[in-house]
């Protein structure tokens, strides 16, 4: 598959996402923004380790953060998912849902024919 994403950007993204804890953080942040301690707790990580992971994700452009008072809140960066990947994933899900229906329709037809 070809996309317009640059190789350097992809390398950093893959590296950032190669770690299971960092993937869990992205998954969590995709649902809603969270603080360092919000992210650390469910993963059983210490705060410094969590900060380190988040720095890797931020350097890769996958998350961004904002400090309000004493709390830094992280969120998934807009466009973190390659739009091409997102488009293809959505398209495949839709087509497979339709092909499931086609499969059921063909099964119903053969039942009708047998009857």
């Amino acid at each position: 598959m070809h996309s317009v994403a640059t190789d350097a950007g992809l390398d950093r993204s893959f590296q950032a996402l190669a770690d299971v804890n960092r993937r869990a953080m992205i998954d969590r942040l995709a649902r809603h923004p969270a603080s360092v301690s919000d992210l650390a707790k469910p993963l059983g990580l210490r705060l410094p380790a969590t900060v380190k992971h988040l720095q890797v994700l931020e350097a890769a452009g996958l998350v961004e953060s904002e400090k309000t008072g004493r709390v830094r809140t992280y969120r998934v960066a807009p466009g973190a998912l390659s739009e091409v990947e997102a488009w293809v994933a959505a398209r495949k899900r839709l087509l497979n849902a339709q092909f499931d229906r086609l499969e059921r329709m063909l099964a119903d037809e053969s039942t009708d024919a047998d009857a």
Binding site: V4, I26, S82, E83, W87, A90, E103, L106, S110
Partner: protein
């Protein structure tokens, strides 16, 4: 203006029905409507089809929130029970999002059919807006799938 992104993907499925019957699911409007219309939240849907080489097909949908999508297909090659090649473009709210070439091949497999769907896509500017609407979650992808639906 963003550069046009190109990609392609393949979906392979097997059906427990002979190629002629699977093909009929694609070539007969009444049957095709039955399996392509899977949007519980669509307000209106119109689907017309002229299934022949040089013929066109259109699917227009409007959602309760006022958004709309339109897909226009053009058939380039048809080999009964074996192959369909068409081009289509997809517009969201009047803005063209993608232009694709699709090849569907049907071949006998055991007592049924193996269907291979290959789509080659040029993603246009509008695709960036679509991607911004999703947040990397399955929920987001489901929503996008509904928006992209034809």
């Amino acid at each position: 203006m963003n550069p046009v992104a190109h990609t392609s993907f393949v979906i392979e499925r097997e059906f427990a029905a002979p190629p002629a019957r699977v093909f009929r699911g694609w070539s007969t409007l009444e049957l095709k409507r039955r399996w392509t219309d899977c949007h519980p939240d669509v307000a209106t849907r119109t689907h017309t089809m002229d299934f022949r080489v040089g013929g066109d097909e259109q699917v227009e949908m409007r959602f309760p929130d006022g958004r709309g999508s339109a897909a226009r297909f053009h058939y380039f090659d048809i080999v009964p029970d074996r192959r369909i090649v068409y081009g289509y473009d997809l517009a969201m709210d009047g803005r063209r999002v993608s232009v694709s070439l699709v090849t569907i091949a049907f071949e006998p497999f055991d007592a049924g059919t193996r269907m291979r769907y290959t789509e080659q896509v040029a993603l246009l500017d509008g695709a960036a807006d679509l991607a911004e609407r999703i947040e990397g979650t399955h929920e987001g992808l489901d929503r996008l799938a509904r928006l992209l639906a034809d």
